[in-house]
């Protein structure tokens, strides 16, 4: 019975290796290994652009209340009206 398991294990390992080789071939053929600058900025968009920090500690209770009263507490994430941090 062991040989059945071991044959299966070998086939799985061979299949996985083949998948990895194919993934490398596919990524090369489809331009994934070219134009690295474009790849690096692909996680940014108009809603969350380069130059905008997207995380910070929550404000204290007092600060939060005053910002609400001042009408500056705004927007859900990704709604697109985010204040920007200017990069240099």
């Amino acid at each position: 019975m062991a040989w059945v398991f071991y044959t299966l294990a070998f086939l799985v390992a061979a299949g996985l290796s083949g998948t990895a080789v194919y993934a490398l071939y596919w990524s090369s053929k489809h331009g994934q290994l070219r134009d690295f600058d474009r790849g690096a900025v692909s996680i940014f968009d108009d809603h969350e652009p380069v130059g905008q920090m997207t995380d910070h500690f929550p404000a204290g209770r007092g600060k939060r209340r005053s910002s609400l009263e001042a009408g500056t507490a705004v927007r859900p994430p990704g709604s697109g009206n985010s204040p920007r941090v200017t990069p240099s």
């Binding site: 474009r38 996680i43 500690f57 939060r64 500056t72 507490a73 859900p76 990704g78």
Partner: protein, 494 residues
Amino acid sequence: MASASSLAASLNPATPPDLTARAELREIDASTKWPVIVFLLSGLVWLLVGTCFALISSIKLHTPEFLGDYEWLTFGRARTAHLNAVVYGWSTNVAFAVAFWLMARLSRAQLRHAGLLIIAACFWNLGVTIGIVGILAGDSTSIEWLEIPPYATPLLFVAYALIGVWAVITFRFRKSEHIYVSQWYLLAALFWFPWLYSIAQIMLIFEAARGTVQALVNWWFAHNVLGLWFTPIGLAAAYYFIPKVLGKPIHSYYLSVLGFWSLAIFYNWAGVHHLIGGPVPAWVLSAGIAASLMMVIPVVVTAINHHLTMVGNFSALRYSPTLRFVVFGAVNYTLVSLTGSAMAIRSFNEITHFTHFTVAHAHQGMYAFFTMVMFGAVYYILPRIVLKEWPSAALIRTHFWAAAIGVTLYWLDLSIGGWLQGLEMNNASIAFLDVVRHTVPWLFVRSVAGIIITIGHLAFAVNIGWMLCARPPAGATTPTLFRNPPAMQASAVR
């Protein structure tokens, strides 16, 4: 809406992937809400359970009579329950939560048929629960990292089949033009984990190999579950959150691709360095040592990428909880990986093998790197899916400092204590029992470090519970979390 018309359509290979529209980030985050919450809360429960078992087993090492009257809490069971609770309970659950959210966001596609993922989460956690209870009852397999009894593992397989397929489906229906490096890491990890787990189950449990082959397979699995499952998920998160939080592209995208493919080629061979000095063919060990040293390539290119992206932006650590945790994890990834390569060198291994140095190394990898990155990811993801902000900045700071100080103390303490232990064990003039006695002060400090870490976990749990139960403040219709404070705007992103 981007959801498919039916489950069959999602599974059918003939369904065109352009069936769906490119989704907004809000829609994507909303589609992941319930699966992420279920996996995350399950993981949180296991984190607390695993921490309790960690403290019990740590205290027992220097005070053996502690809870000595309970057979189900003997060291062998409590320590094993700790390992499995944190590896398959906390770490894997939170890895699933983060992986789904990341995969959906990077694919620009909504998570499809989320209800099935919740069923998968139930299967997974039922399997882990039965496994931990089985371990406490004395049914452990005694194979390291695979101690869960065979009657629980089928549940894990069923759960994983659902989970893995769903991540691949999300990727298939992607609307992003480019496959970001984090997606490579996530996809690879989701393929590698079932391969590692199924082969190890076959060759160690169901049709156990004979002789030293068992040990080889055991360490191939145990090391690779770190390097080919948790590490890629952790790196995927770091490669996303560091540039995303800073609003600055990664330092070198070329290096990130090189790092991924070199990890994929070299890591699989490295695990056998755990058997240096053991009765296995010398060429196998030499191959493992060579691969371990070749791992310096992906580690260094990843370190260059993470750390040079941060250069000039360290002030942002003051403002972003996510960045604090993720950068702490990234620094520890560099340190733990280079230490791991060094530990594969025979002359180094002669001292560290069979000592607490290895325990320090394992905790630096699984906690100081992986878990800290996952904490950072949770601080970023949860407000975006529940649309509430974290209720307490003080609890976040408490969590960070307790976890960072605790795990650093733990790592330094056991590294130094383990090194001295190794030197003494190699000295034939010192009796073995004296070596054991000399480790007691180091083990005591470890328990203190564990208590500090526990404080951080409690702060994390309270903050999550508070956040999920809290109502939005009166007058607020949206969270204020994502508004940049003036101080951050002035100093961020140079």
